[in-house]
């Protein structure tokens, strides 16, 4: 019989417990919006009360003109430049954020909030539903990227900021950047949208469906009520993460990192054990993910991305969404990103040009795939820095003229 060593993701139960606590009581600042300030969701539901967890770095200046909002990606969170309270790992965008980096807290007031539907302190399926006293689970309404952005806008308003100097994000974060510039053009001075798209492609929806089905196929998912039974669909979520993780890389990067090399052995074991390094790596990625992320959140957030289509909200014409915008845009894509390929960024740029917007667009050559926006890619970092510096200069001039 062929040996199959069981793949058991989720080896750190104490982390999972920390994560569960973070959902309602995050190690972050929290903005609570009461029943008097409901969030009007695209699905028709008024969500109230709800809360948004957020981190800030740096100091807001006197005329409140130095605020930057960072929008995180699908499985990111608000811990952009500090040690993560659950994993203990450094912030996820330290290549871009920090002293001497393009987004420097010495100069800017940087805000990053956990998205609506997330599981790190903003209201989502793993938060407590005040109406029942139980966790929301699938009773949580289906949310969209515009809903997330509306919630962020309420937070920014709560912080007393009329206009953001810049909104920055990659992947799902980039979608939020675009949505910000479309929904609140007068509140966004500049926008840096990285490795994203104006709509989620059929292929990407397909990958998301694969991930969701993996979660739902786990017997421990229990139609989303796993919280009540003290179990977690960690196997399904790990598989979803493994599949997704492949889409974040590139063939070239996988070959460079792993090739066909074996994991701690010289010969194949003639089993379904993780013989290859790439298998071992993927298992690790799946395994480490399930302790810090909620499976239901994964369903809701992937769904929000699927629904994203700016043009559809503007009579099918993307350019119409950006008409007359005064926001300064920088769009960046990566050559080996096949999840959000350059053609998607180009569609954004064409629409911006047609709308008369001021836009820079650079395609960065790298074999690091979609994940490149999170990694140390000097050319990208240089461009982000230059774009912000130029925008900063123009922002200063604009304020002087006022």
């Amino acid at each position: 019989m062929v040996s199959v060593k069981a793949f058991k993701p989720g080896g750190k139960p104490e982390q999972a417990e920390d994560r569960v606590r973070e959902a309602d009581h995050p190690s972050s600042q929290v903005a609570v919006f009461g029943t008097d300030q409901p969030l009007k969701l695209d699905c028709g539901v008024d969500l109230a009360p709800f809360q948004i967890a957020y981190q800030t770095y740096g100091t807001l200046n006197a005329d409140k003109s130095n605020a930057i909002l960072i929008c995180h990606a699908l499985t990111g969170d608000q811990h952009v430049a500090n040690v993560h309270p659950v994993t203990g790992k450094p912030g996820w965008w330290q290549t871009l954020v920090g002293p001497g980096k393009p987004l420097d807290p010495e100069r800017y007031f940087i805000i990053c909030s956990n998205v609506l539907g997330g599981c790190m302190g903003s209201t989502g399926p793993s938060s407590t539903n005040p109406a029942t006293g139980k966790l929301w689970g699938l009773d949580f309404p289906v949310i969209t990227i515009p809903d997330m952005v509306r919630a962020q806008a309420m937070l920014v308003e709560r912080l007393g900021i009329e206009k953001l100097f810049c909104v920055v994000g990659g992947s799902m974060g980039g979608m939020q950047v675009l949505q910000w510039s479309v929904a609140f053009p007068e509140r966004v001075f500049s926008a840096l949208a990285v490795a994203c798209a104006p709509r989620h492609s059929a292929q990407n929806i397909a990958f998301h469906e694969l991930g969701r089905q993996a979660v739902m196929a786990d017997p421990d998912w229990l139609h989303g009520r796993y919280y009540d039974e003290g179990v977690r669909p960690h196997r399904g979520l790990a598989v979803a993460r493994m599949a997704a993780h492949i889409t974040y890389l590139s063939d070239a990067a996988l070959h460079r990192k792993f090739g066909r090399r074996m994991q701690d052995r010289d010969l194949p074991t003639f089993s379904f054990d993780a013989d290859f390094q790439v298998e071992s790596y993927l298992r690790y990625q799946g395994s480490s993910f399930v302790d810090r992320f909620d499976a239901n959140s994964y369903l809701y957030l992937t769904r929000a991305m699927d629904y994203f289509d700016i043009a559809a909200d503007h009579d099918g014409v993307l350019a119409r969404a950006f008409r007359g915008t005064k926001t300064r845009f920088c769009v960046v894509s990566f050559t080996s990103d096949w999840l959000f390929p350059t053609s998607e960024s180009r569609a954004i740029v064409h629409a911006l040009n047609a709308g008369g917007a001021r836009v820079s667009f650079a395609e960065i050559e790298t074999d690091k795939g979609h994940d490149a926006f999170l990694l140390d890619v000097p050319e990208f970092i240089d461009i982000a820095r230059a774009f912000l510096q130029a925008a900063d200069k123009a922002n200063g001039l604009a304020r002087k003229e006022r």
Binding site: A354, V359, I364, A386, Q389, A390
Partner: protein, 225 residues
């Protein structure tokens, strides 16, 4: 799509860091206007224009060029003059500039028509193939001309549509374009004397710089963009 890496600049020019032809082009642009530089290279001209209060945008074919421009804080996108100009709406700019790029496009006439559709005015500069050194190389050596500013051999040049100043004037007439200003520059980038006849410019101009606008439509015009 920058064909010439750098033109020798006029030694007596006050702003030594800028190319003479760029300064000439920049002088043709009114301050405060909105400009698209097609084939903007590494953004030297755009930067000069922005320093003069112009709202400048650029298109550049080479990824390296684009990234250099964006890193300089310029609003430049990666694109191809032959294919991407069609996506710009009418009257989007006050000026559209095509500096040393016309001869490298696949369809110079279509590109020229787009320039004057997108912009109310166009500024076009190009190397003059009627320049005396060019003619002599072909006449005496019987070989495709190569100059300091156009050093590429015939088999690896990006320049596929060379023309003379006279040819260009002919095209402008044909597609009903009005020449508001024309300047021929010598090989040092200095303007030739203004009152010289066309044949003189065509023979001694190393490059031509033209400020164009849309002419009143002729009744028999068949080439409206």
């Amino acid at each position: 799509m920058t064909v010439q890496e750098s033109l020798p600049f006029e030694a007596s020019t006050v702003m030594k860091c800028y190319r003479a032809d760029h300064l000439l082009v920049a002088d043709m642009v009114e301050s405060g206007s909105k400009v698209l530089d097609v084939g903007c290279g590494e953004g030297d001209l755009l930067q000069l224009l922005e320093s003069r209060g112009v709202d400048g945008r650029g298109i550049e074919l080479s990824r390296e060029g684009v990234n250099r421009c964006v890193a300089r804080g310029l609003a430049v996108v990666q694109g191809d003059a032959d294919t991407d100009l069609a996506e710009y709406p009418d009257d989007a700019f006050d000026y559209v500039i095509l500096s040393q790029t016309l001869q490298a496009t696949r369809q110079p006439r279509v590109v020229l028509e787009h320039l004057l559709r997108i912009g109310r005015r166009a500024i076009v500069s190009f190397p003059n193939f009627g320049y005396v050194n060019m003619r002599l190389q072909l006449l005496i050596h019987g070989q495709m001309p190569r100059t300091e500013n156009l050093p590429a051999t015939w088999y690896d040049t990006p320049n596929i549509h060379f023309c003379t100043i006279k040819d260009f004037v002919g095209l402008c007439d044909e597609i009903n374009v009005k020449m508001e200003r024309a300047v021929a520059l010598d090989r040092h980038g200095r303007p030739l004397r203004l009152n010289a006849p066309w044949w003189f410019w065509n023979l001694f101009g190393e490059q031509g710089v033209f400020l164009l606008s849309r002419a009143e439509k002729k009744p028999d015009s068949t080439h409206a963009a």
